[in-house]
Symmetry: C2
Subunit: 265 residues, 2 copies
């Protein structure tokens, strides 16, 4: 286990990483001279590559023995005790559309378990770092809020058109019907809002570990619960995510997980 002092050093390093990649992403954000559909992906790819190159070289310089998993440049030091998982732009469509809710995800795993997670929204100037025990937003401790009534809850997701994917027996519609507010301020910003106590539930089908590993220490650090739709630890199975405050996660799981959650008990 990393000592308390090592952990603090790693946290400081995480923040430097996020700030460095944030400077790169801000340069590319809304920089397209003409915004044409056919050119849509170019600035994103360039921004993604530049930011991931920066993150990798900074990690390799500081911690040459650590492993890295990144979306663009594959894996290094696969068997290392400490491994970094990088996603420079989570929320590509948000980035392309000039919407500043996208973010950079940085996770540090120790023996496969998420030790630290960073969600950084460089255009908004919001940086969350969690270590499963605590969560800081721009250096200030934040907690999930204590909403216990689903009728008072703010529910977020990313893409309304993904809903049919996890819409078993209209259970998602049931969830939408019961909450107070429902919006698609999604991608990683949804998790930031849950961790910072501004929203109660974030639900997502997640395609790759890049999208979920950094979220875990942030949500848990803020006192929230994060599982897949079956109630399992998302480290093992990240094909879907429910992140919610303690008082609501069980209700959400019951509505969405239904039989599969009960079957396992």
């Amino acid at each position: 286990m990393a000592s308390k002092r090592e952990l603090e050093e790693l946290k400081r390093f995480c923040i430097l990483l996020a700030e460095g990649s944030g400077t790169i992403l801000r340069e590319y954000f809304r920089s397209g001279v003409a915004v044409e559909t056919k050119a849509d992906r170019t600035p994103v790819t360039a921004a993604d590559l530049k930011a991931e190159e920066y993150l990798r070289s900074a990690i390799m310089r500081e911690y040459p023995g650590h492993g890295i998993l990144g979306e663009e440049f594959g894996t290094v030091n696969e068997g290392a005790r400490y491994r970094w998982v990088l996603d420079p732009i989570d929320g590509t469509k948000s980035f392309i559309c000039g919407v500043p809710l996208f973010g950079t995800l940085i996770a540090l795993l120790e023996e496969g378990v998420p030790l630290l997670g960073v969600i950084h929204h460089p255009v908004l100037g919001e940086l969350l770092i969690g270590d499963n025990e605590s969560c800081l937003l721009n250096g200030r401790a934040v907690r999930c809020r204590q909403c216990r009534d689903i009728g008072d809850a703010v529910l977020l997701t990313t893409d309304p058109r993904d809903v049919p994917v996890y819409q078993k027996e209209a259970r998602f519609d049931e969830l939408v019907r019961r909450v107070k507010v429902y919006r698609t301020w999604g991608d990683c910003y949804g998790y930031s809002l849950v961790a910072a106590g501004f929203a109660d539930i974030m639900v997502d089908p997640v395609m790759s570990p890049w999208d979920s590993l950094a979220l875990i220490p942030v949500i848990r650090g803020a006192g929230g619960i994060i599982t897949d739709f079956g109630g399992d630890d998302p480290v093992r199975n990240s094909s879907s995510i429910i992140a919610a405050s303690e008082g609501l996660h069980g209700t959400v799981l019951e509505i969405l997980g239904g039989d599969s959650a009960r079957d396992r008990s």
Copy 2:
């Protein structure tokens, strides 16, 4: 008609107004010590009142003969040639949830016709001002983009749960099915994204003139088209809004407006 010089003076004054109310709103944004559901509306109401008070007193000081229509403090100088329509916080739920996409709407009408419109996102530092002929984003001219294929379009709306209200014969579902991206980055930020060329279509049921009058000179100034679902000028009937780039508005109207649009021709 306002002379070119008067218009430029009024524009400068609009920007001062927006900056002044923005300073007030930034102080209130995310300022709740504990974010409890029962206290949700309090900071919004306080922010709304403070900002509208500021806007009204600034207008009355500079243009005592002008009329004002505001959400919180009613109407003054109803018969005036120039009338201001104020909405300090469009996107109340966004404001409450700590999401910086909310905005301030300021419209100036001349004989009931929108002459100038401002959409200001004070936390994002994005200020759009339109005069039906041109549209500036932070002082730089912007235009709607030239997307002509609905399959390449980015569609925005505000609240997915409002959809049934304007979902005649599943036409909104048809629109969602045909576009490339669909999100609820809505309220006035949706119109800002269309005007600035980052999205193509914003669709909303609109409840009051506060919500639409400022949008008209902005969208038209950026070369876009703004009507209600029947294709009519939203100055007269603002119970629904379609704002879209020139190449797509007809297609959207055809999908959504259906018979009612055809009946009138």
